[in-house]
């Protein structure tokens, strides 16, 4: 009885599907596994806002009759089992055409097998561990990799800062950054005078920084998880007199996130960070992006790197939809997205490396400054142009 009921309901569903299809109003569904709750919830908002803003401003470019629907699901943070269930449901139940979001690497790892199984074109807009994009041929990444930041940072630092102390969070991305920085810094003549792997949950950085201070390096290279501990680190850096003793604070953009700058105050001024995006970037595309963002979400709102990646990720999905005129084929979609290129990203020129399906972008050296009374990460140099993920190259070299 169960079976016949099931068959009937499927038949009804199919009939409805045909009818709506015939009406030529086509809805393309994008399933988003994202983080809206828990301590990392700010990602969810950034990504969702970027998606919706792009759709709002660009829906006229879609083929006639095509509409985009976003279906959000909350994974609550790095919860692979939950993320996988949500992705599975989006695919099976909601019959989505694209999967996106994927804030955290473990979640991306868990979803990969079903993305492959379901041939689901998936756009990673945040997870930053190099290996994750290799887990499925249906993965494309618009975000970044840790190696992309930390390798150029090492290259740049070696030019003027001869001795570095490294402080990274003691988890996989932190270890990646430590490795990446050393790989370019040491061959260029830099000396690493100490490494501290601090527990991820560190609240008080004073003891670590005291040791850094005692080691008297030229630079302190810091990698922390995005979004919560940077302010505490920055305060201790100044309080303990590291800044006044001339040690340069350098790191990825995570040590001076736009949303935390107001809380940091003048302590943050002079911080050097390597990142793929700054809201203060003066490219016209970025100025337009930030202006649109503020118009939509208020004068005080500022988009961050996750917003930029998501904006570009949506642009990429639009590209695939437009090029196929709304008649989507997963393999075709992946093919198109793997060759995506734009000069109009808020990040400048970006493209996808067809071989790795990974992002190729510029890395900007920024310095935190006060501009018109507002703290900004001012891009002072394009440190790397069209950099591919160095990790992939290193893996190849190993083989």
């Amino acid at each position: 009885m169960g079976h016949s009921f099931l068959r009937k309901s499927l038949a009804v569903a199919a009939a409805v599907g045909i009818l709506t299809g015939a009406a030529s109003a086509q809805t393309i569904k994008i399933g988003v596994v994202n983080t809206f709750s828990g301590p990392q919830a700010s990602f969810g908002e950034m990504i969702d806002r970027a998606f919706r803003l792009y759709i709002k401003l660009n829906s006229d470019k879609l083929p006639p009759g095509v509409k985009i629907e976003i279906i959000n699901r909350d994974d609550g943070g790095a919860n692979p089992d939950k993320a996988k269930q949500l992705a599975q449901e989006l695919i099976v139940r909601d019959k989505i055409d694209f999967l996106s979001g994927i804030t955290f690497t473990p979640n991306g790892m868990a979803i990969a097998p079903i993305a492959t199984q379901a041939k689901m074109p998936t756009v990673l807009v945040n997870a930053g561990t190099s290996v994750v994009v290799t887990r499925s041929p249906y993965y494309v990444r618009t975000s970044f990799t840790i190696f992309q930041h930390c390798v150029p940072l090492g290259t740049w630092a070696a030019k003027s800062l001869k001795k570095t102390f490294i402080l990274v969070s003691d988890y996989a991305p932190g270890h990646d950054c430590e490795e990446a920085y050393s790989s370019s810094y040491k061959p260029a003549g830099g000396e690493i005078v100490g490494v501290i792997r601090a527990p991820v949950a560190t609240a008080d950085f004073a003891p670590f920084l005291q040791r850094v201070k005692d080691a008297k390096p030229d630079a302190l290279m810091v990698f922390l998880p995005a979004g919560r501990t940077a302010t505490a680190m920055m305060k201790s850096f100044v309080d303990l007199g590291l800044k006044s003793s001339g040690i340069k604070l350098i790191g990825t953009g995570d040590i001076a996130p736009e949303e935390e700058l107001p809380n940091m105050g003048d302590e943050a001024i002079g911080t050097i960070s390597m990142f793929h995006y700054s809201a203060a970037g003066d490219r016209p595309a970025n100025k337009a992006f930030v202006a649109a963002w503020r118009k939509e979400y208020g004068e005080k709102a500022t988009p961050n790197f996750a917003a930029a990646s998501s904006w570009d990720g949506m642009a990429m999905m639009f590209d695939a939809i437009i090029k196929q005129n709304g008649k989507l084929n997963p393999d075709k979609s992946i093919e198109i997205m793997s060759h995506f290129k734009t000069d109009n990203s808020p990040r400048g020129t970006i493209y996808i490396d067809p071989e790795t399906r990974d992002i190729v972008q510029n890395e900007y050296l920024r310095e935190t400054r006060r501009v018109n009374g507002e703290l900004q990460n001012v891009e002072i140099e394009t440190a790397a142009v069209a950099i591919k993920d160095p990790w992939q190259a290193m893996q190849k070299a190993k083989k």
């Binding site: 792997r197 004073a206 003891p207 005291q210 005692d214 007199g241």
Partner: protein
């Protein structure tokens, strides 16, 4: 050798600062747990509230720092009385499980409220200029704020101990911790005693949360993230004791700092392992009146 001595001074300094804050926050927990036998996992909520109050008062209403500290103490103490009368007091004899669940519920609620009001970022605390920078003591530079923090905490500790040793209230608390039934039978109004003590303990937590916002940044998940440390102080120090948690807090503060300084790769291992060892050696804590 001199380098080692110098680093030892640093470790002790930061360790004591951290330990002092842990103590000011946790002492109330030790006393209420010893006095009322209440497993209050939500003690950190009061500390968070203190920190958020301080942040708001200073950032929004430009309240000077000392006044904001006082405000944190008073408001949290008063707020805790309301909770105590309405909810806590109903569960004094309800058994551990009910207390654990109730206080977990409080934690969840407070996290949600804090996030709604303050977002996920740490609440900003902009110290006045006179607390910034370095103070030179005996030829060494120390961060000014931490010096002040140790100083204020020391005053609080001395006042508290003096209060418990010399006042009628203190005598009643000590009597009731020793033997609640006895205290009741000699005419101590334990209801009021509990309320006042709870308020004081929570107020101190609020003060500690505010004072320590530099060391333990205040954000919405604060009560959960720091729960283990507060509990360790109390469990290791011993329930119902004033001096036990003091020594435990200093030990934890210094040990934690020393690990971070010399063996950062050990992370929190050492603290947890030491806690487990200590509790197995003395299940009632170092100076516990009861387990």
């Amino acid at each position: 050798m001199q380098a080692f001595a110098s680093s030892l001074v640093s470790v002790l300094f930061h360790g004591i600062a951290y330990g002092m804050i842990l103590y000011v926050i946790s002492v109330g927990l030790s006393v209420t747990m010893g006095l009322m036998g209440f497993v209050n996992l939500a003690h950190g909520v009061f500390a968070m509230a203190g920190g958020l109050l301080l942040s708001t008062a200073m950032a929004k209403y430009a309240v000077p720092f000392p006044l904001a500290l006082l405000l944190a103490f008073v408001v949290v103490a008063l707020g805790s009385v309301v909770l105590e009368r309405l909810l806590y007091s109903k569960l004094y004899s309800a058994g551990e499980l009910a207390q654990v669940l109730f206080t977990m519920g409080l934690i969840f609620i407070s996290i949600a409220i804090a996030r709604q009001l303050y977002g996920t970022q740490a609440a900003p605390v902009f110290l006045p200029d006179y607390l910034k920078g370095q103070i030179n003591i005996l030829g060494r530079d120390f961060p000014a704020f931490r010096v002040v923090l140790i100083f204020i905490s020391a005053i609080i500790v001395v006042t508290l101990w003096f209060g418990v040793e010399r006042t009628r209230w203190g005598a009643m608390v000590r009597a009731a911790v020793d033997n609640r039934d006895m205290a009741q039978s000699v005419g101590i109004n334990t209801n009021r005693l509990f309320m006042v003590t709870f308020a004081l303990g929570s107020g101190l937590a609020g003060l500690g949360g505010a004072l320590g916002s530099d060391i333990l940044p205040v954000q919405s998940t604060y009560p959960l993230e720091n729960l283990v440390y507060f509990m360790i102080v109390v469990a290791v120090g011993g329930l119902g004791s004033l001096s036990g948690p003091f020594i435990a807090a200093l030990m934890i503060g210094i040990a934690d700092t020393a690990t971070k300084y010399w063996f950062p790769e050990l992370g929190a291992f050492l603290i947890y392992a030491a806690t487990i060892g200590l509790l197995l050696w003395r299940p009632q804590g170092l100076f516990g009146v009861r387990s």
